[in-house]
């Protein structure tokens, strides 16, 4: 089955900007504004097959996200994997959080406050980088 984004043509930019929003039912803004590029999302047990949810009734993009996020992924990673713009991906992820199939882990509070992360985190990053 061809993915709907195949056949996207850069020469046709005007149309390609609108088409992704057909899979969001025309919504252009997420209902929740707490999702960031690096919010990590993971599938919950409620999304597992056999938990009363019929994945075949879901939109293919929603199904793909649920499958992808069996290991935690950042919103940006989901967008890249689906080849969808970040804002469209956020709307779809928002749907799945709403229905309890995804759980989101927001980045640390310093992220919103514009401060510097605490030393413990800096040390952990430093130690991890040194092992590269």
């Amino acid at each position: 089955m061809k993915h709907w984004t195949e056949g996207f043509d850069d020469d046709d930019a005007g149309e390609s900007l609108v088409r992704p929003y057909t899979i969001t039912g025309g919504r252009t803004a997420p209902e929740r504004d707490d999702l960031t590029l690096i919010t990590l999302v993971a599938t919950t047990s409620a999304a597992l097959p056999g938990n009363g949810r019929d994945r075949r009734k879901m939109q293919p993009e929603h199904r793909a996200i649920v499958a992808l996020c069996e290991r935690p992924l950042a919103v940006a990673e989901v967008a890249a994997a689906l080849n969808l713009p970040v804002s469209v991906t956020k709307i779809l992820i928002g749907d799945l959080i709403e229905s309890g199939q995804l759980r989101a882990r927001p980045p640390l509070a310093f992220a919103q406050a514009g401060g510097t992360p605490e030393l413990a985190i800096l040390r952990a990053v430093r130690d991890g980088l040194r092992k590269l």
Partner: protein, 199 residues
């Protein structure tokens, strides 16, 4: 610190990010690729239409909407911590429209090319004006070190506290060292309380 004990049922690690900035062609994606554990991923965002209502399709269809792409990579620091590296779009004017890209960054690496220092001026201005700590990596991938670090500092009008180092963006160890220099700088900033005096 919250991320160390993730045994409260929340299995997802914490994510942090660093921005890799600089003008067009200075090697941002090269650096991301050199240190990332996965091949750089690309994602896109539509800018300017955020908040446009469902009925306002003119705004989505119109020429005022821009698609901006960025490349990013991932370094798994530990089971609890993941570092994302975002190569910023070359045209800095887009960053102002893309709060999600800049918000929450621990800091930034500004790459410069000594042959075209001017293409990275806007990046430096951007982080200075926002008080986001950064270090400067002088990408010597072309093998030419025709200017001293002091000359480059002066040309960039760099605050003395901002670390500057030579690097090769293609080299994993060199890329890692630039990131480590940023972490050291962030630790110093945290201790001293000010990112840099330039405001």
């Amino acid at each position: 610190m919250g991320y160390a004990n993730s045994d409260h049922g929340d299995a997802a690690p914490l994510a942090v990010k660093i921005l890799i900035a600089g003008g067009f062609g200075v090697g941002k994606t090269t650096l991301v690729g050199a240190v990332s554990e996965v091949a750089p991923l690309r994602t896109e965002e539509y800018l300017t239409h955020a908040g446009v209502g469902v009925d306002d399709l003119d705004g989505v269809d119109g020429k005022s909407t821009t698609t901006v792409a960025l490349d990013f990579g991932r370094i798994t620091i530990s089971r609890e911590l993941v570092l994302y590296l975002f190569g910023t779009p070359g045209q800095e004017r887009f960053w102002f429209m893309w709060n999600d890209l800049v918000n929450g960054a621990m800091g930034a690496v500004v790459l410069v090319d000594t042959r075209r220092l001017d293409v990275s001026f806007a990046s430096i201005d951007f982080f200075e004006s926002r008080g986001i700590p950064f270090v400067v990596g002088v990408n010597c991938f072309h093998g030419v070190r025709d200017r001293t670090q002091e000359e480059i500092r002066r040309a960039l009008d760099l605050d003395p506290q901002v670390p500057l180092m030579l690097c090769d963006a293609r080299d994993r160890a060199a890329g890692r060292d630039v990131l480590l220099a940023l972490i050291d700088h962030l630790m110093a900033v945290r201790t001293s309380g000010t990112p840099h005096s330039a405001t």
